[in-house]
Amino acid sequence: MRTGPTPSKRRASRSASSGERLSLVPAPLLDKLRAVVGGGHVLSGVELSPYVVDGRTPEAAVFPATVDEVAAVVSLAAEAGLPLVPWGGGTAAAVGVPPTRAGLVLGLSRLRAIVEHEPGDLTVTAQAGVILSELQAALNARGQWLSLDPPDADRATLGGVLAANASGPRRHLYGTARDLLIGVTVVTADGSVVRGGGRVVKNVAGYDLPKLFIGSYGTLGVIVEATLKLRPRPDDERLVAVRFERLKDAGTAVRAILASDLIPNAVDLVDAVAARAVGIDAAPAALLIGFDGLREQIDWQIAELGSVVRPYGGQAPTAVPAGVWTGLARAAQAAFETPAAVMTLSVLPSLVADTMEQGANSARQRGLGTAWCAHAGVGLVTGAVRAEGQRQDPAMLATVLAEWRAAARAGGGHASIRWAPLAVKTALPVWDDAGPAGRIMQRIKAEVDPQNILNPGRFAAGI
């Protein structure tokens, strides 16, 4: 998958493979777009293959270089009633309801400047197209970091991470984008540039717009710049594994860890399949626990961890290579070369182990294998179903996923499809039911994007 723009051909072209739509962007509009961003930054035809999602090819892809250009592109699209799909690194492009009309991909990768990093203030302002790992490298050079560790950091962009509310294992201690984003600049559906929040870590002036845009999947505006809180890099960090003979015991051990004086920065629970995916051998389950801080603090905590988990059958903590960190958030997904489906379930921490176990059981009953991982301390569970050749009956998969969802809801949580083939996504709602709150969300959407051009139909509550 490519992430950046490629040299383009100058004419609107037919898509290469069969069954896909022809480009419907009228030539005059394409010309106007080229006038805004430069001819080389409007893609069409076969250049669009990296931007195919759920079998839909976009009508064109545009790559502005500045906020003004973004605004101009959005205005043009609004004028033409052309749907827009903001695009960072594409790592979450397949999340959501497949669009009915593919529309215009609005690539943010050319907005990749770090606008300001003030170490004394522990804040950074960067454009949306900055690759997360590059941002981290720049911050690390000054002894700081953005405490956000979603998967695919070498491809995901800052804007995309925010729009998808992507997170990783260290969210256990450091929270998610919601706890880090202090200011955001977006281009709204009418082409205006709107700022919410500010550049200071405490700010209650006006409504908390940054919160609105996090996880909104580009449906309310195109994020072009963000200001975030930083942290000093810890002196040291270590990851250990604690193996269990029963998944249930691992769940109980998590409760004990949360009630103890330990301050882990990650508490992940993996089953045997997911463990293998990150290079650890642990059957049937293991806890992967991270600590950071001064060396003496880490040493003390690892020893203490051993005492805390022992009554629950936890074996002595063993060191785990640092490389395991990067695979943790996607352990379940990565367990299978191509999963049949992936679901994320948001449940109470005390129900994590049960959710994993019941989910595995209900799939197994239908002859389906699964892999499970969870940020156990915060209740975020990911379950992946193994593709079994002709067992990949969409109706069957949908039933299993529906059961998983029902179990999550029974515990006061919710579950949404992270990834699944088109057939499954049409058999089962991608997003869980937002209930009456969904109506409020719809009203917000209707107010700020009355024409419904930003990722129409992609999101929850029918947005």
């Binding site: 003030e118 509310n165 908390d208 709150a437 917000i444």
Partner: protein
Amino acid sequence: MTSMSSERKSALRRELETIVGVGGVLSDPEELLVYESDGLTLFRALADFVVFPRSADDVAAVVKLANRERVPFVARGAGTGLSGGCLPAEGGLVLSLMRMNRVLEVDYDNHIAVVEPGLVNLHLSWAVGPRGYYYAPDPSSQQACTIGGNIANNSGGPHTLKYGVTVNHVLGLEVVMPDGEIVWLGGRTRDALGYDLTGLFVGSEGTFGIATKIVVRIMRKPQAVKTVLAVFDRVEHASAAVSAIIARGLVPAAVEMIDQLTIEAVEDAFGCGYPRDAAAALLIELDGLAVGMEAQAERIVAACRDSGAREVRTAADEAERQLLWKGRKSAFGAYGRVSPAYMVMDGVIPRTRLPYVLGRVNEIVAAHGLRVGNVFHAGDGNLHPNILYDPRKPGEEARVVEAGAAIMKVCAEVGGSISGEHGIGLEKSDFMPFIFSAADLAFMQKVKVAFNPTGLCNPGKVFPTKKSCVEAGPVAYRPHAIEAQGLAQRF
């Protein structure tokens, strides 16, 4: 007050009484009088009724009645707010939530509690304290302010440097919408489904509806705490020390700064052990594991010394620690000993601009012939210049307001904000254009319309507005100082 005929008033009163009971409605002028202000006595507005709902259903019924009668309404907690946020700016109903004050449920395994909005912030920590938990957002008024009020203002406090503000500790809200519908935003799990409406509601200053149940995160009490007091002969040194601490890789739980005038007032009130002749003092708190705390404290001491501290001391025991904090938390009230009134300002600036801004604040206040005491959350640049004045002296109030506006402009100039935690409310709605463009404000208005299309829910707040019956003495309308100077726009 709205202009309501006495027949209509009586009829409304009777209807309200059928909802909340006979003891739950106030309409006598003397009783309404005590509800005309919150903690900021500069502004007053009289309600037509104050009602005391006991449940979400009561709140919903009152709100529906208000909608039917086209009467504005606003919720009120303990009334300790400092921006006039719970004033009935256009008259109508004040819903006091003080009788909805229970801890409904605590789930220690999952570290959450469900509480009613009238619960006093500190009482929540007391309730979960015996099991070793606490509720982290700790505004200085936490002995009196309520969780509901904290939700409205996204309240902070000294420990938010490390632990975040209210919104970072709220998972879900049961809300009575401005049209009277009861809706749950968010829930008990950590990830929102769809838009983060909980995050949006927190800090919306009561303009999006009324929260009737709040799901909060509770946290384990830290294993150890260390409180350090550093004393400086120059304010600039104190500000520099703050940046130096962070540069050494430390995020203390709190870094608070107080100036000399404040120290004197606090020492008069409580004798907390702050040295009276210091130009500024930094109160720094570390918390976390006992292991390693000494090493971290040493780094802090070194950072302070390197920045020119003349004295650094650590609280010897819990009693001394409480006393040091008591001084800081009661500072606002202690000003009452040195001045009949004071105006608490609330601004935020990038930490690194602290010395410059402090200097400007002192200049501005002196230029207006007033005095100022500075107390603030230096760790995150949230400053509270407290302008001391005597309301009985003619012209003094106007100068206070002018000085306040000038200070807000400075905050905006250096890339800061006009409110760190007290909210915009009534007090600062005219200053919004200092930091937000017309497009920004228009977008926020659209979001508000999605929640509150009729505008009946807490009108006159956050956005500059013309209409209100907030008192101004004998004259009903007087252009605000900054408006007269052409510095503010109107909606």
